[in-house]
Symmetry: C2
Subunit: 194 residues, 2 copies
């Protein structure tokens, strides 16, 4: 149903239940990738010695890095905790700091935790059907608070926005999300660096 010139539309499948693509390879992050980012490092090391569990995976489709393209894919954060702290992604700013991103939640229950260089923080709840708008300048991290189900989102942002992981790896987020009395609660990150 198409001619075959060079630049053509194309389709990639991401399963709505698992978030996984049958053909593309996701990037995977395990407990050991969260070193330096969790509240309880001792518990983390103990867990890693038992099994370096998969915490999350996501797709980087490598659209051309121009302001005209769209980067997109799914992100899957699995259920689990390190001590009382829920499984989460490392989180990132965009290299082009002012570019926004949209996350559409397909399955699960969690929060998008955000903060910006101006000192603000915010968290938006993610349930199936929630489209969370992450404005430009806001670092963002997905956190799964469900005890059983993966948190699955479909995301899209500008082709040249890029990922800046280093700032968050060095400074951490201002807030952490922990379970207290069976409920998620945001608390100050004692190791946050201003």
């Amino acid at each position: 149903m198409s001619n075959d010139k060079v630049v053509q539309p194309f389709t990639i499948e991401f399963n709505l239940q698992t978030g996984l693509s049958p053909k593309e390879q996701p990037l995977q992050r395990r407990l050991s990738d969260l070193r330096g980012m969790v509240r309880n490092e001792e518990v983390l090391e103990k867990m890693i010695r038992e099994e370096d569990l998969l915490v999350y995976e996501f797709y980087d489709m490598h659209s051309p890095e121009t302001p005209f393209e769209v980067q997109y894919g799914t992100s899957i954060t699995y259920p689990g905790k390190v001590g009382d702290e829920y499984f989460m992604t490392k989180g990132h700013f965009h290299n082009v700091l002012d570019t926004a991103e949209i996350y559409y939640c397909l399955r699960g229950h969690g929060y998008m935790l955000m903060e910006n260089p101006e000192g603000e923080w915010d968290a938006q709840e993610m349930i199936p059907g929630a489209a969370v708008y992450v404005p430009g300048r806001w670092a963002h991290r997905s956190i799964n608070v469900d005890s059983d189900e993966p948190l699955i989102t479909f995301f899209a942002f500008r082709g040249d926005a890029g990922h800046d992981y280093g700032t968050i790896e060095t400074k951490g987020f201002r807030k952490l999300l922990v379970e207290k009395n069976g409920e998620p609660e945001f608390v100050d990150n004692p190791r946050w660096k201003s």
Copy 2:
């Protein structure tokens, strides 16, 4: 869970089964909006006299029209035919012609029909989980080929891309999608203007 400065992250819900938002108003297009775009105008007028059916609806969230923002929302094309031609959206180019768009299919069965000013055309099948990449320069139209279910997609593109409906309204698409012997088949549009 947030402070209250001016620019804040936010969430809008789009139901995964219906595509509809409980709070936002969609834009609606009815049979009468397809005048001049279908193969059989007589059948169209007869149908409109009986009932000016809703053909599709979609959301325009009015993100600020800057290159840094993301426009997004859902599009719902209902099942039906005008004669042997499946219900479809009007379709459009982007005003910023070179900007791409991603459509993620949540439900239903259909095609994304595309063409560009260079004379190429293409169609990508949409089933649940299919992420269809519409490169810059490609006009695009959603077509529902299912007899019962709505075709529902979540879309995202650059904030300032805009919609150019006029070109397609004047020229039409090169191809039409009709049912032949119970199967969808792309045929030349006899009224297409080069």
